[in-house]
Symmetry: C2
Subunit: 381 residues, 2 copies
């Protein structure tokens, strides 16, 4: 395997700081002993600060998709209706998960690159007054569009008695999401995005209202939240946890709390802003509409006549910078830059510089250097 | 957290060699890029050698229980009967998983500490001729009893047209289990037992016969084997994999293949034998009947009048040796020693020595030193 050190600018996984990587090399401990108990309870307490919740929180050994499955399979009973705004690959996946586990998805179709409005959700609730839940992807990793009315939707769900289930996988820890203030009942994220840990853990917060829904269901084994709750009393997980990933997340959470959530969100905002300014200066078109632009995932349309796969290949092979392509129906039409976790000004200047180099090599016409200058300027302001 | 280095003699997780721990600190890579493809395909190829299969094999980011759920939820359709010999906590869990996912378990009750016979399974098939599968726990981690007729059961399933699903979590890589020769259709193991890797990965082999069952079902998302098969064509997993754990497993598999499976199984047999000899010399009673004794998990009844929790506590606090207690209905009645993975003569002499120390402190009467002498003798033979 290559010995080159790559700059990973993916919408997950993201760069893991050396301090976090090193934490994984600690010796294995008994997952039913006092050492793991201390580790697990500590990770939960720190995670609650990042989620800004006083509710329950669990750490599962699986990816973010496993976390979403856990939320749906525990909280939604057979035949129950779930309103789902669909504007990308990950909201499609939420819809499919509801179907597979016997719920009835009520789709609100939303243009990809755009996001749902409060009015659209209100209309859906009017049409389906017996809907049990709203399940929404806060930040569509496949397009780079984020929902702008999350707090209002929380109020609406609270008022109408719907569960508010939020897939916050590519945004929590990098943008605003005060779980309790926004009345989120189940919030899911993954370790490998804004939390700058290796992939393999999903984090779920559970409100009191969510528990009353969960009590009625019995369709999960590995993702059985009631088992997670029972075992938490002893500071344990029901099944063997991925211990090294807990070490890593623990260290990453320390770093996150040392930086402070406010400063962290501001850093993400500034980094994303610099990328957007740079891309505009290069003359590229974002996939998401300006008002819905994400602060963590930047989706960009391939320039006319230029193969996006070649852009990514040159960036990776010549510049050691790794970005992502399109997903689902957007494959071959766009590329995506993750600006999350430990991301810094230096990372962005290297990424833009590599992108400019690749574009020039592929014959794209633009004012060479304009992107780097624009990014630099953005960081000064 | 304690800085003491503990000797983990649990029935999983087991000690992870430093070489394997260090492998996790490698930088994060793109799970949709050439670096992960090389890693993933390499791990699969090496795992197939350990499983002794030419069939398909997948690595899931979850614990062994997640792997069992994957097997059941993919291979068993609604209302389909599954014959399950139940002789411990983990076979109970297989039964529950079948129920939760809509199958009909046909339990063969087996005395705990004992194991099922071919006759009993034949009888069950006669009574339930439409049974779809036999799901069996090869090595009951909760008792230390292993099934002695695995090859014969494979023949029987083949003859009768049943799927043969084997939970080999606490045994594969430490005892005989040639998956293809024994006609196992789905074989599941975890990374943290005999494979001496950190917990967090499950490995599943899938036969052609198993695929034809899986094609008909559609009840999994995170554990959807058809998605795993589709993504494998690109050398990818459908959902973000726990990358550092793949690095670790890759390194551990190299070590396993360097040692050779035959030598490895013989080492496990010799280590377990030394433990049994030592325990007998101390006058302790095994939980499993002699003919069913496992070569990887040793279950021991608490001596009369001695609190097993205190044995374990003294061993941990004074000797830094960590063993397990009883599970389920056996809690508070026994302790369990894992002798798996990287286990060596030195580990066993320390463990027996610590056990003797704890027993003496608790007033148990025995010939002090007899266990260590017996273990030493056993290794000489």
């Amino acid at each position: 395997m290559s010995e080159r050190v790559q700059l990973i600018m993916l919408p997950g996984p993201t760069m893991v700081p050396p301090r976090v990587l090193r934490a994984m090399a600690k010796p294995i401990i008994n997952h039913r002993g006092p050492e793991f108990k201390e580790l697990y309870l500590g990770v939960i307490e720190k995670s609650k600060k990042v989620f800004m919740t006083k509710g329950d929180l669990f750490i599962l050994s699986c990816s973010g998709t496993g976390g979403v499955e856990c939320a749906i399979s525990n909280a939604i009973g057979p035949g129950e209706k779930v309103i789902i705004p669909v504007n990308g690959v990950f909201s499609q996946r939420v819809k499919r998960t509801v179907e597979i586990f016997g719920g009835k998805p009520v789709e609100i179709p939303v243009e990809w690159g755009s996001s749902v409005t409060v009015d659209a959700v209100e209309d859906a609730i009017k049409k389906e007054p017996d809907a049990k839940a709203l399940a929404i992807v806060y930040n569509e990793t496949s397009t780079g569009a984020k929902v702008k009315c999350m707090a209002e939707l929380g109020e609406l769900c609270d008022e109408k008695g719907l569960l508010y289930i939020v897939d916050a996988i590519s945004i929590l820890g990098g943008d605003e999401l005060p779980v309790d203030d926004w009345k989120v009942d189940i919030c899911i994220t993954g370790s490998q995005k804004c939390l700058m840990s290796p992939p393999g853990l999903a984090l779920l917060s559970i409100s009191e209202k969510a528990w009353s829904a969960i009590e009625r269901t019995n369709r999960a084994v590995y993702f059985d939240l009631k088992a997670y709750r029972d075992y938490l009393k002893e500071g344990e997980t029901p099944f063997t946890p991925a211990i090294p990933l807990f070490y890593a997340l623990d260290e990453a959470l320390d770093m996150i709390l040392e930086e402070g959530m406010e400063a962290r969100i501001e850093r993400h905002r500034r980094c994303a802003n610099a990328i957007y300014k740079a891309l505009e200066a290069i003359g590229l078109e974002m996939f998401a509409k300006e008002e819905f632009r994400s602060n963590t995932v930047i989706g960009v349309r391939d320039p006319k006549g230029i193969d996006g796969n070649m852009i990514r290949r040159i960036m990776r092979e010549k510049y050691n910078v790794v970005i992502a392509g399109g997903m689902g129906k957007l494959k071959g039409t766009m590329f995506r830059i993750g600006s999350m976790g430990n991301v810094s000004m230096a990372d962005i200047l290297i990424t833009i510089s590599a992108l400019e180099g690749a574009l020039q090599e592929l014959g794209y016409e633009f004012d060479r250097g304009a992107g780097v200058v624009a990014a630099n300027e953005a960081f000064k302001s």
